[in-house]
């Protein structure tokens, strides 16, 4: 057959090869991003750890890098992060799971189809807006019952973060529950069990690794949450596990420093990378566990 100018097989194949390299380079951007994150965190933290020993970092009970009498103990920030996360989970896990069970086992098809997109939309709300809620709506409300509650506190922040991740936990758990095959449920119904019994004794255990993955990934989100705590929990690093007190999380501290004007080479600047490193390690652990749980769940069904 006759051929046109740009259609020779050699040309088409060479063009294909070039294009494949370009596409692969784009895919490698993901790898480079991860490497860059690891590099920059370690690099800047290395300067930090020239001044501060790891022992002090882990055991000092104060975090005041910007004061004259500087202390560099990370525990106050970690305690803030953990407390807020704990409060959030107290809200998100029960509510999310119950909603998931309801949607998966009890609700009609129509209800589910209406509710699921709404849940998706809720997950898309900017966290700044949730921060506004926490500071200017939830805290005043709580202060009616707890008059001694300070304006900045971890309770409001935790509750709002919990509400914020309920759609996520519910959605992932519900997907996991729906993946449990029908025949397992039918075995239970055939014995005369009610829907609730089937849900609690057959479906939830059957979907367990998927549900656990939902919880774990929810924890990871709560740990990494920044704006709600920056706005509503205050920026005072304190070593406390009492949610009615103000405190700073790792993320809030990074924000605080960024709002200021620190010279590039100062230890204050480097301290945010050290804090970021700890944050990254914490979320990494949860993400990896969540990833393996998801995979285990997918293989089972």
């Amino acid at each position: 057959m006759r051929k046109g100018a740009f259609s020779s097989l050699a040309y088409r194949k060479n063009r294909d090869r070039v294009i494949e390299l370009v596409l692969m380079a784009a895919a490698l951007v993901a790898v480079f991003t991860t490497l860059a994150i690891v590099f920059i965190l370690l690099y800047e933290s290395s300067f930090f750890f020239e001044h501060v020993s790891i022992k002090d970092f882990l055991t000092d009970t104060q975090w005041t890098p910007l004061f004259d009498d500087a202390h560099y103990g990370i525990m106050p920030l970690v305690s803030g992060t953990l407390t807020v996360t704990f409060v959030a989970l107290l809200v998100a896990i029960p509510l999310g799971t119950i909603i998931a069970i309801y949607l998966s086992e009890f609700s009609t098809h129509r209800t589910r189809e209406t509710v699921k997109p709404v849940l998706e939309l809720l997950g898309a709300v900017p966290t700044v807006v949730y921060g506004y809620f926490a500071l200017l709506m939830v805290t005043p409300f709580l202060q009616q019952f707890m008059p001694n509650l300070p304006g900045f506190n971890m309770l409001s922040a935790g509750l709002v973060i919990g509400l914020m991740i309920v759609p996520y936990v519910a959605s992932v758990s519900e997907d996991a529950m729906r993946a449990v095959p029908r025949y397992m449920r039918e075995g239970s119904y055939a014995m005369g069990a009610t829907k609730l019994q089937t849900a609690l004794r057959v479906v939830v255990p059957g979907a367990f690794s998927g549900i656990a993955a939902a919880y774990i990934l929810g924890i990871s989100r709560a740990i990494g949450e920044t704006m709600v705590v920056a706005i509503a929990a205050g920026m005072q690093p304190t070593l406390t596990f009492n949610p009615t007190e103000p405190a700073a999380t790792i993320t809030a501290y990074i924000v605080q420093v960024s709002l200021g004007d620190l010279p590039h080479d100062s230890i204050g600047y480097q301290s945010i990378f050290a804090a970021g490193l700890v944050l990254m390690l914490m979320t990494l652990v949860f993400n990896v566990v969540g990833f393996f749980l998801t995979r285990k769940f997918r293989e089972a069904y």
Partner: protein, 308 residues
């Protein structure tokens, strides 16, 4: 008759369990409605708080020390410019990466590494992206605290969203179409360009809009870069009146953005500023929800258009 228990015992136990069932339905529905209702309540409160500030002035004024005269002009212009950079970077890179992973990549450890990275990046806290940008873009690359740095950071942040969304869209194209094209002697790129991509555009667009709606509300990464909230000027216009009609100065300009402005105003104890924050937050929320609704609508329309 049951050997284990009498009929009466059976019935009593059964009605107890059935009541539990009903209780659970009520509880479940109640919790669902409360959560949704609570959120609706909060949003309405937001709109009410900010209602007094809505108006043309609000949209066209710069921030000011006087709450009544403060507006979000620099904020929404900044947000728009950043979104432009984000989209221009994230879309090509994300779609290209997705095409590679879906159509080209062999199933080996190397590809597995890339895919793990994409999944992992989706779970990295947004503030860590900010730290990456600060160390890398702002200082090492020397982009400074600029629109360019912010756009690149957010592009990296939403890259996993675009990649996942595009891959789903590509996967929806049936294998039979690809086989037919290969059977005629098409190369892999020709199959992708002529058949797979054209039928995936709806899904890709959905992924892009969802990614941008996420980026528009992200505060933490751009605070870390150093967005300022008292910006009383606009970055230079990209279009000039003389040759070559396009200007890149605006990329290097300092900037502010909607979420930053909200954050700044919320943090002030003055109630007037808090009203400003409410109004701006309501606007941001409306934009986000609108973008999501559009994306969902496109996804729905596109699914109906081609039935294989």
């Amino acid at each position: 008759m049951s050997a284990v228990m009498t009929i009466e015992e059976l019935r009593r136990g059964l009605s107890w369990r059935k009541n539990l069932d009903k209780v659970f339905v009520v509880v479940g529905l109640l919790i669902l409605m409360s959560c949704l209702g609570l959120l609706a309540l909060l949003f309405l409160d937001l709109v009410r708080d900010g209602a007094s500030r809505f108006g043309w002035d609000f949209l066209t004024q710069f921030p000011s020390r006087k709450a009544e005269r403060a507006g979000i002009l620099s904020a929404w212009v900044g947000t728009s410019m950043i979104m432009l950079v984000t989209a221009l970077v994230a879309l090509p890179v994300g779609v290209a990466a997705a095409i590679y992973l879906e159509e080209y990549a062999p199933k080996n450890w190397f590809t597995g590494v890339i895919e793990i990275n994409v999944t992992n990046l989706a779970g990295v806290p947004s503030i860590v992206y900010g730290l990456l940008a600060l160390g890398l873009f702002v200082y090492k690359f020397g982009f400074g605290q600029s629109v360019l740095a912010a756009g690149l950071t957010l592009a990296l942040l939403i890259l996993p969203i675009i990649i996942v969304g595009t891959r789903e869209a590509l996967r929806a194209v049936p294998k039979a179409i690809r086989e037919a094209a290969y059977g005629l002697g098409a190369t892999r790129w020709e199959v992708t360009k002529d058949h797979v991509l054209p039928y995936s555009t709806g899904g890709i667009l959905t992924g892009l809009i969802l990614g941008l709606s996420r980026a528009i509300g992200e505060t933490a990464p751009i605070i870390t870069i150093g967005a300022l909230s008292f910006i009383a000027f606009l970055p230079g216009s990209p279009v000039t009146s003389e040759f070559p009609f396009v200007n890149f100065e605006w990329l290097r300009s300092e900037f502010t953005a909607m979420p930053i402005q909200i954050f700044n105003w919320v943090s002030r104890p003055d109630q007037a500023f808090q009203q400003n924050a409410a109004a701006a937050a309501a606007i941001l929320l409306a934009m986000t929800l609108a973008m999501n609704a559009v994306a969902i609508w496109i996804r729905y329309r596109f699914r109906k258009k081609i039935n294989w």
